[in-house]
């Protein structure tokens, strides 16, 4: 998927004015934020569990080379074929080759954010493979030719009226607005796609090194269908998703659905190991697992490694007051919200996303809910430091920051400058004591007044009081 995060500021203006989007986002907030709050307390000792989860992820990442090889060995022993891909294009090439090898004409796909990184669907279509997205949200987006705006609820930006119009137009059926009826219609259209698909494509929430298994969580059941019915199954995931044991993954599973959708557990958790046996009546004969790097390995051992702990629950975006107001598309790539504001620049080039690390108040709501304790605000701040080192900040901003710091290191000049400054601002504020416009501070005064200073600094007044 092309990275358009350079357009961030322009997109913010558009998204803030989009009434339907704003309505949709308010629903996300109440359902997901409230949903998480309702079930996260079921965990006996949440903090202890988060610490354990972070430790599991850290151990896996600190020994990533070992666990990836152990995984490969176990998966291969059970009949899966493990592929390694450096880039999204490599994934596309590998999947296309697998399709050609097994004479695949149609593929049914469950939700995979990693495949969105690669732009897999376009590559397969070009190679003559018809791809059907089967997650309801992703299916809707495929019909509408749109990108997901949330990693868990991809179609959160659309309301049912828009979906009703879309289904009526594309399915040539009478328009329905009842949500259950819309779901039924999609089910009936997609069922033959599952039954007839030559290849199933899925992501993997985790890879389990101990058993060589791919673990997939779904609610709709499409993840089970695409990994059970077609004769070929391709699972695509990032190299960082490996964890050592079944017990380790179980600890993470206590947190993932609760953090994501406010569920104690997803309807289905599938642990898939190897291919079908000759006597089995279902399951794929060919199981390919593709491990994508796409920049992830560059984080290992560095000051951003903690980002690789991420288990893609989406809690950070659900709780982010910026995401809550602009939605996911404004961020310009696959991953939105706080985790995306870090992943997009670190995977796609820091120079291509100048706004993302800065478009946060560092309020910390994301870090509080992160199930694996990623210090998201600290990582955003580190990216800002890197921007500064790379000279990416505007000359005006750098000058202002340096000037302020210089002044703050020279208390006597600081005292004089602030004393003059507050007198001027008081004058501008006038009788109402409000400043309506201020040169250079339009970002503030376009939407807000600035309450005028009292006219003398605290330190002036304090000194006067002492000498009275």
């Amino acid at each position: 998927m092309q990275n358009t995060s350079l357009q961030f500021k322009k997109q913010v203006t558009i998204k803030l004015a989009d009434v339907r989007l704003q309505d949709a986002l308010s629903r996300l907030q109440s359902r997901f934020v409230g949903g998480r709050a309702a079930v996260i307390s079921e965990i006996h000792d949440l903090e202890e569990t988060r610490i354990a989860a972070a430790a599991i992820r850290d151990h896996a990442l600190n020994n990533l080379d070992y666990w990836l090889q152990h995984f490969e060995q176990q998966a291969t022993a059970r009949g899966a074929i493990v592929h390694w891909a450096e880039t999204g294009d490599d994934v596309n090439r590998i999947v296309t080759e697998i399709a050609a090898l097994h004479n695949v004409k149609t593929a049914a796909k469950s939700k995979s954010m990693v495949s969105e990184e690669c732009g897999l669907n376009d590559a397969l279509e070009e190679a003559g493979v018809a791809v059907m997205e089967t997650d309801l949200g992703e299916y809707i987006l495929q019909l509408a030719h749109e990108a997901p705006s949330h990693i868990v609820a991809p179609v959160v930006h659309k309301n049912k009226e828009e979906i009703a119009d879309l289904f009526a137009e594309k399915h040539h059926t009478p328009r329905k607005t009842d949500i259950a009826e819309l779901c039924r219609e999609a089910r009936e259209i997609l069922r033959p796609a599952f039954l007839n698909a030559d290849m199933g494509i899925s992501g993997a929430n985790f890879l389990i090194a101990e058993t060589g298994s791919a673990l997939i969580v779904t609610n709709e059941g499409n993840g089970r269908l695409v990994t059970t019915l077609p004769r070929v199954h391709v699972a695509i995931t990032g190299i960082e998703k490996v964890v050592p044991t079944l017990e380790d993954v179980t600890t993470l599973l206590r947190l993932l659905p609760r953090s994501a959708t406010g569920q104690s557990i997803t309807n289905y958790v599938s642990v898939l190991t190897g291919t079908k046996k000759p006597e089995d009546h279902d399951g794929p004969e060919h199981f390919h697992i593709i491990l994508l790097d796409n920049g992830r390995s560059s984080l290992i051992g560095g000051d951003m490694q903690e980002m690789l702990r991420c288990i893609r629950c989406g809690a950070c975006m659900n709780h982010c007051p910026v995401y809550q107001n602009i939605g996911g598309h404004a961020y310009g790539w696959v991953y939105p919200g706080p985790m995306g504001s870090i992943l997009t620049p670190v995977l796609g080039g820091i120079e291509n996303s100048p706004d993302l690390p800065n478009a946060s108040t560092l309020c910390g709501a994301c870090a509080v809910v992160c199930p694996v304790k990623i210090p998201l605000p600290d990582l955003l701040r580190k990216l800002r430091e890197k921007q500064m080192q790379l000279g990416m900040k505007s000359r005006q901003e750098t000058f202002m920051l340096k000037a302020w710091a210089w002044l703050a290191l020279h208390p006597r000049l600081y005292a004089k400058a602030t004393a003059i400054g507050v007198r001027m601002l008081k004058l501008i504020g006038g009788n109402k004591k409000l400043i309506h416009t201020l040169p250079g501070a339009g970002g503030w005064t376009d939407g807000r007044d600035f309450p005028a200073p009292a006219g003398k600094t605290f330190r002036e007044l304090y000194q006067q009081g002492k000498h009275k």
């Binding site: 302020w404 290191l409 208390p411």
Partner: protein, 245 residues
């Protein structure tokens, strides 16, 4: 006990009354308050913008000016958080300084945290009468666990009723330079906050960080609300909310 007051650059420049209110509260609680005259800014604007070098210099300056006190009190969760939580990161490359700043950080408190846990005044001199609503500023809440402290103190004032707003812990959109660089977004976040404040019908919105309060007041006034009072917790608790300057 000897308390050094770090008044913060915003309070110093924009609303000095908060500094005097803080002194009044600390003295009423029996503290001996000193205001080091050379103090300026904690360096958070630069630190959060990626200018680590400036933050290092200002952290050292702070250390030299405040290390001698038993306690340092700050009428801002954001600046207190900078000192307690972030200065150790700022000075991480110098083990000697790191040890000193960590120790000083442990003695540095946000005002309401200090009053409830250390100074424990017997009575609160505030005179505020009526209903107020409290906004929980992000740094104080999430870096210093300040939530109950201001509420406990306000509950000591006989004529105060707290009407909690929806999402009192959601960011108001200030975020320092964010409020200017992403003004439109910041304004929308402030707008949401103002809506929740107005819904409580409280006569005052009270908070612990002047930055957030300026943001909230700025949006309230621009929206035509000239009656809801916007007060720092020190003003409300000290009774200095009525008087100039």
């Amino acid at each position: 006990m000897r308390v050094g007051l770090f008044v913060t650059c915003l309070v110093d420049a924009v609303r000095p009354r908060i500094g005097f209110a803080t002194i009044k509260l600390l003295e009423a609680a029996g503290c001996e308050v000193t205001v080091p005259a050379q103090q300026t800014c904690c360096g958070q604007p630069g630190y959060n913008a990626g200018d680590r070098k400036s933050a290092v210099a200002l952290a050292r300056k702070f250390l030299n000016e405040f290390e001698a006190f038993d306690y340092v009190v700050v009428p801002s969760g954001s600046c207190a958080g900078m000192i307690r939580v972030h200065y150790p990161d700022v000075l991480r490359d110098d083990p000697a300084l790191l040890a000193r700043i960590t120790a000083l950080g442990q003695r540095t408190y946000e005002l309401t945290d200090f009053l409830t846990h250390i100074a424990m005044p017997e009575n609160i001199p505030g005179k505020f009468k009526g209903t107020l609503t409290y906004h929980d500023s992000c740094s104080g809440l999430r870096e210093l666990n300040i939530y109950n402290q201001p509420r406990v103190l306000l509950a000591n004032m006989a004529d105060v009723k707290i009407s909690e707003m929806v999402e009192s812990t959601t960011c108001c959109g200030f975020g320092g330079t964010f409020s200017v660089k992403y003004g439109e977004l910041s304004t929308r976040m402030a707008d949401n906050k103002c809506r929740h404040i107005t819904d409580t019908h409280a006569s005052a919105i009270v908070g612990g960080d002047l930055g957030c309060l300026l943001n909230i007041e700025g949006r309230l006034r621009r929206n035509g609300d000239h009656t809801t009072r916007v007060l720092h917790i020190a003003e409300a608790l000290s009774g200095l909310d009525e008087e100039a300057p």
